[in-house]
Structure formats: C-alpha cells, structure tokens
Symmetry: C2
Subunit: 189 residues, 2 copies
DNA sequence: GTCTATAGGATGATAGAC
DNA sequence: GTCTATCATCCTATAGAC
C-alpha cells in the first residue's frame, strides 16, 4: 500500500473544500490551513490553483469518456446500454462524489486549453448518449418521446446524484443501481 | 409602464453575470463595468454585494414556496399535484432562468439570516413534495418505488432545467410542459 | 518540504466633491 | 446619482533561508 503523495493530499483537500464552497470562494490559504501548513508550501507540489482544478475535473471527465467508450463497444440493446450508462454514473458518483461538484459547477474556471478539452469531452459524451437513445427509439425499445427530453431528464438526474448521495449517507451501491434503473428506465420503455 | 429602478437594473445585471461565472467570481467592478458606471456608484442603490445575492435568491425561493402552497391547497389527486409542481418549475424557469443558477449554486454565500431562511424554505419545499409522492403511493396512484428515489429523480431534473432551457433557445412553454410531464410521470404511474 | 517575507494586483466598501 | 481617491484586506505566486 503506497502512501499518497503530498500532491494527491493537496488535491484531496481542495476537492473537499471546492465541494463545500466552490472553486473561486476557496483560497490557497484555505487549502493550506486545512492541511496545517502555509500557503507558500503548496507551490512546492503544484504550480498553480488552476492546476489543482484541472487535475480534479479532467481525471473524472476522462473516466466518463472511457466508461462511455466501453458502453458503446458492447454488443447489446440500446436499453441495456442506457442501463450501463446509469451504472457508470453511479460508480463514479460513489468513488468521486466531491469531485463532481467542481466538474458540474467550476469547469468554466479551467484555463483555456483544459477548458477546450473538457467541453469537447462533455459534448462528445452527450452526443454518444443521444445516439444510444435515438437508436433505442428506432429499434422500438424506447418510447418515441422527444429524444432531447429523455436525454436531459436522465442526464440531469445522474449529474446531480452526487448531491443526494452525500446527503443520504452512502446508500448501498447495488440497491441504488437497481432503484435508479427502475425509476429512470421504466418511464421510457 | 414603470421604468425599472436603478436597483433592479443592478440586480438584473448581476443575475446575468452570476449565471455566467458564479457569485464569487464576479466583482462589484464587473457589475459596474457592465452597466457603464463605476463600482462606487453601485453603493448608492444597494448596501452590499451580499444584498444583491439575497434579493436574487430569496425572491425566487419565495415564488417556489407560494407555488407549492397553492398546489397543496388544491383538492385533487396526488398525480395531478405532481403535474402542478412540474408546471410550477417550468413557469419559474421560463421567467427567471438566470436567477436559478445563483439559487442552485451560490446559496451558501448568503449571509447568515438569509441563509437560514433559504434553507428552511428549501427543506419545507422538499418535505411537501415528498408527502405528495407518499400520498400518491398510498393511494395506489404512484408505483411503490422508494419515494426518495422518485423525489430526487424528478426534483433534480426540474432544478437543472434552467441550464437546458437556456441552451435549447427557449422552447415553447406548453410543449415543454407536455413533454416533461410525460417523461417524468409516465415512469412512475 | 516548509518556512518568512513580500511583490503586485484585485477586492468590497467608504468619504466627500460635483 | 455618479465620480475620484482611497482604505484595509485579501489574493496568487515567487524568492530565498533553513
């Protein structure tokens, strides 16, 4: 078992503080104080505040991207793929619930290169999810509602799941998956 | 037709900027520049930055509170009440889409008195919605899924509707209501 | 790897002239 | 009602000692 590096410790502390107050409202002094060191010491491990944000957001964004690619690579029905996407969100929520606050609310404070990279990943993700739903409708597996409404309705629930997951005190993952799949899917099949 | 006061102009400008970058990332200078005046001039109309935030958030929060009271006062089925709640969210989204960003993401920066007042309203609102759903389940109108999952799933979609509404370019309200009600309700009845 | 000291600039807010 | 000038404080980040 490797002990986590000082850099990872900084990122973990920042992730929690960003979750509580948002990126802009948290100062380098806040992060340092929470670690019982001085703000200047942080710069021995990271090069800027934006780098911290970038590491938090892009790491999780890449997990979504890889997860979606795996779902697309499957040889299964559209409805089964939607189920897999729901499970992907739940797994990431369980493992990185606090990081999702930054990803949802503070992505616009990324520096330009990272911002472009993030927006691209998010757009691709939505587009992939959209085509799964459209294929499901064409195949007659999913009811012919406006695909955009279905996409938005499922995605907005999954994207804010981290807020609820924190509040409820870490429900059992498998029960969560079963119930979420029921509620989100039963309405559209 | 009364022309809007300078104070309302400040609030409208701040609402837009808070929507784009978040409360903490927007300075009084930013607000003033957007109005083509100097930051010091703002203080002739408002007493602090937090007062602006408070006016934005509490005004909309009160609309939700009043709207929910009207729904509860109705003599109708639980499922009809859920429909009315969905329509309430859509109406508020259409009329105050930018203010909903502050309400969703910046409420924690309210000063203490307003913070308490806001949290109370939000908790009461959720509790009222929860009991409508529970009554619907007891009456056999709503499927007996975990009420918390139903509550969260509907509420998180409605709460982030403002993001989607902005992006889609102002869909027709009545079409939006019909589609949202279908997608959100059909899964649980 | 952490510290003190500090640069250089932004921030919310006030005082007082016009 | 807006301005200029300014205060006191906070901010990110760097330099250099230990």
């Amino acid at each position: 078992m490797k002990t986590i590096s000082r850099k990872q410790e900084i990122i973990a502390t920042a992730t929690r503080l960003f979750y509580e107050k948002g990126y802009t409202a948290v100062s380098m002094r806040d992060i340092a104080t929470a670690m019982d060191i001085k703000a200047a010491s942080l710069y021995n491990h990271i090069k800027s505040k934006q780098e911290i944000l970038s590491e938090i957001i892009l790491k999780v964004a890449e997990e979504f991207t890889v997860g979606m690619e795996n779902v697309l690579a499957e040889n299964s029905s559209a409805i089964k793929k939607v189920e897999k996407v729901i499970e992907l969100h739940i797994d990431i929520t369980v493992n990185h619930s606090e990081a999702l606050a930054a990803l949802n609310n503070d992505w616009m404070h990324l520096e330009e290169i990272d911002l472009r990279s993030f927006v691209k990943m998010r757009e691709d993700y939505e587009e992939n999810f959209r085509s799964i739903i459209k294929q499901g409708i064409e195949a007659g597996e999913i009811k012919p509602y406006h695909p955009e409404v279905i996409l938005f309705s499922i995605l907005s629930t999954l994207r804010t799941l981290y807020l609820w997951y924190q509040k409820r005190g870490k429900v059992d993952v498998n029960i969560l998956k079963k119930d979420m799949v029921s509620v989100l899917i039963k309405g559209i099949v």
